[in-house]
């Protein structure tokens, strides 16, 4: 009989893994929701975020959680550049062009990262790495608590931005109907850039959290990138609440699967979950029929 503390521990591991999926998937959904573009290089943007934080940490030695804010800005700007000079050029010219552009970006960004930082394995040392919070039944490291809290903070900020500000409303309007948004005076091109920038910044935060919790190298983004796609399909394309629920669900399901059935099932279970959800609800949990 498994002890309750063990199950609680696995719940915490699943929740943290889920937070990284959520940050990735919400960013991906921001981009898809507004631009209807599928960016397969989202995992590589995440990797660049990890390296941006690593570079800042290496040269300044400051708290990596503080530096994460700067790397989010840097990668956000980088995302805007990719949108402006890459995706914008092929937008509306056919889905294949968008797909191949993003596939090409995977290799370009990976090779560029290898050139800049080499293939060596890196790590970011958190000042809280040895500190744990004793909850009586189990101990949780501060880094995990911060990762969960940071994800919640980012999501709440994003929610307030989208609901309470004019720019946020314009973004939502663009996501719902481009033409109508344009007729209402929204500069759709600016919204494209903004959504790509926010999506990339969220990926950068996921990359930094990942880099604080585990060693990384320029190939770190591949699997989280694939999982983020699984999450947005499970949650419903374009749905941010869907991405949050599905991301946390996937993190938990994967970790409990490892515990009960072994690591070989970790990736397979993501697709089992995907198939189950699609059979029951083909648009995903929160997806809307168009």
């Amino acid at each position: 009989m498994t002890e309750i503390t063990t199950l609680l521990q696995i719940f915490i591991w699943g929740l943290t893994a889920g937070c990284i999926y959520v940050l990735m998937a919400v960013g991906l959904n921001m981009i898809f929701g507004v631009m209807k573009v599928v960016n397969f290089a989202h995992g590589e943007i995440m990797m660049l975020g990890a390296f941006a934080s690593f570079g800042l940490y290496y040269y300044t030695g400051l708290n990596p959680y503080f530096l994460m804010l700067f790397s989010m800005v840097i990668i956000g700007v980088f995302g805007v550049i990719i949108e402006r000079f890459g995706f914008r050029k092929v937008l509306g010219t056919g889905k294949l062009n968008e797909i191949f552009l993003s596939l090409g970006l995977i290799y370009i960004l990976q090779n560029a990262a290898v050139k800049l930082w080499t293939d060596d394995i890196r790590k970011i040392n958190s000042p809280y790495s040895s500190m744990t919070l004793d909850l009586g039944v189990l101990n949780i490291t501060y880094d995990r608590i911060i990762a969960i809290a940071f994800t919640a903070l980012i999501l709440i900020s994003l929610y307030l931005f989208l609901i309470r500000t004019d720019v946020g409303r314009a973004l939502r309007a663009t996501s719902q109907n481009h033409e109508a948004a344009m007729l209402m005076g929204v500069n759709v091109n600016h919204m494209y850039m903004l959504s790509f920038g926010i999506g990339s910044a969220l990926a950068a935060s996921a990359g930094t959290v990942h880099a604080i919790l585990s060693p990384f190298n320029p190939y770190m983004g591949t699997i989280p990138g694939i999982m983020a796609f699984t999450v947005i399909i499970i949650g419903g394309l374009g749905s941010i609440p869907g991405a949050i629920i599905a991301g946390l669900m996937l993190g938990l399901v994967q970790n409990f699967t490892i515990f009960y059935f072994g690591g070989a099932w970790k990736e397979a279970v993501a697709f089992v979950l995907l198939i189950i959800v699609l059979v029951i609800r083909p648009t995903g949990i929160f997806g809307e029929e168009h």
């Binding site: 498994t2 002890e3 063990t6 521990q9 696995i10 591991w13 699943g14 893994a17 290898v114 080499t118 293939d119 060596d120 394995i121 790590k123 790495s129 040895s130 101990n139 490291t141 995990r144 990942h210 919790l213 585990s214 060693p215 990384f216 190298n217 190939y219 770190m220 591949t222 699997i223 970790n255 409990f256 490892i258 515990f259 072994g262 690591g263 070989a264 970790k266 990736e267």
Partner: protein
Amino acid sequence: MKIINAKLSIIALILLVLITAGCTDTSEEGTPEYINIGLVAPLSGGASDVGNDMKQAAVLAVEEINADGGVYVKEYGVKIPLKLVEGDTQTSPTEGVTAVERLITSENVVVLVGGFSSGVTLANQVPAAGKVPYIITGASSSQVTRRTEIDTSYFFHYCSTTDDYSQPILQFFVDELKPMVAADRDLKLALIYRDDAYGKGVIESSVAYIEDNSMPIELVAKEKYPTDETDFHTYLTKIAEAKPDAVYTVGFVKDTSSVYIQGQRDVGLNTLYMAVECNEDPAFYELLGEWGDGQLLESKFAPYAAEYTELMGPYKEAYLAKWDEMPGMMGADTYDGIYLAASAIERAGSLDRTQVRDAIKQTNEQEMLILLEGGNITFDEYNEISPIIFIEQMFWDEETEELKPVIILPDSLKEQDFVLPDNYEIGG
């Protein structure tokens, strides 16, 4: 008729171009300008850190040999410099095959040296089967020279096999650890390993050794993980539930260091961790930091520990001077492999691949960086060597803030006795 002549002329021209293209490294007298040696290594992809070490060591060996004029080849009556041609496997079986095919067909290499990761090497050795001598310096599966579906007579295993290191590791657990923590019961051992040919190979070999020798070891957990895994918390939580006396990890630098750290720091699995030799790499010590204190590493090349062979000092010095970093174990195997290839070519007196293969097979020379049973490099019936395996214990130095190993086994090289880590908690 004119058309036939034109066709013949084109074919003749193509043949001429192909023939001259194959002779680009050959001088007017017919003496090759260089001897091409193919380096098969993961220069990109997941294991590129190891591949880089292999490349740096190979470059160093080639430069040292060329500084003396190269290799004397009797057939030409002169010394010919070596040229290292890189074949990047990209840590992928498919890309590895392409890389080796290119080295053989386009680069016309005389010998292949390298090959890291059993899964990748088992695939990329196929194009070389029965054609090109391949000194394999980084794949542990004994299948690389024992498989039967291809001609393995050109393959030489210049590194330890999974069988080689299962034995001393398990013997260490029984002889050294068990009396300290489980004198009156079987030692409870947990296994955690990569889900690939390498991980499975080591585990199968270890389990077979325990069973064949009726060792007093109880396997309480056996967890395999996907090769791209970075989050080991749940695996380790499951292992912690089984209350092991020690955890035997079979993985590469990134995964093994994560297991050590996440196990102690996050899961509270304060036990004894043992890693396998491919982790003998500067990155492993760096990533582990203080979490490596008191923990173990199996190896056959210990540049951070004692200078147990005369060559160690000069090699470390030359490597540091050229690359500004410490050498790793896979590089040491490769360094020896390049020298072995050069020596075989010289003894063969020819660049003919079959003659070079025969010369490698007949090698009987003084050991180099890798210590061998009997002190000489020789290949047995399976074209394998018999390396001496070390067990190292790592200690965190508070003053220098560095993790340093000492050799605790074998007795002939022992620097100090094994001690339990400060945070060790008995399982069971």
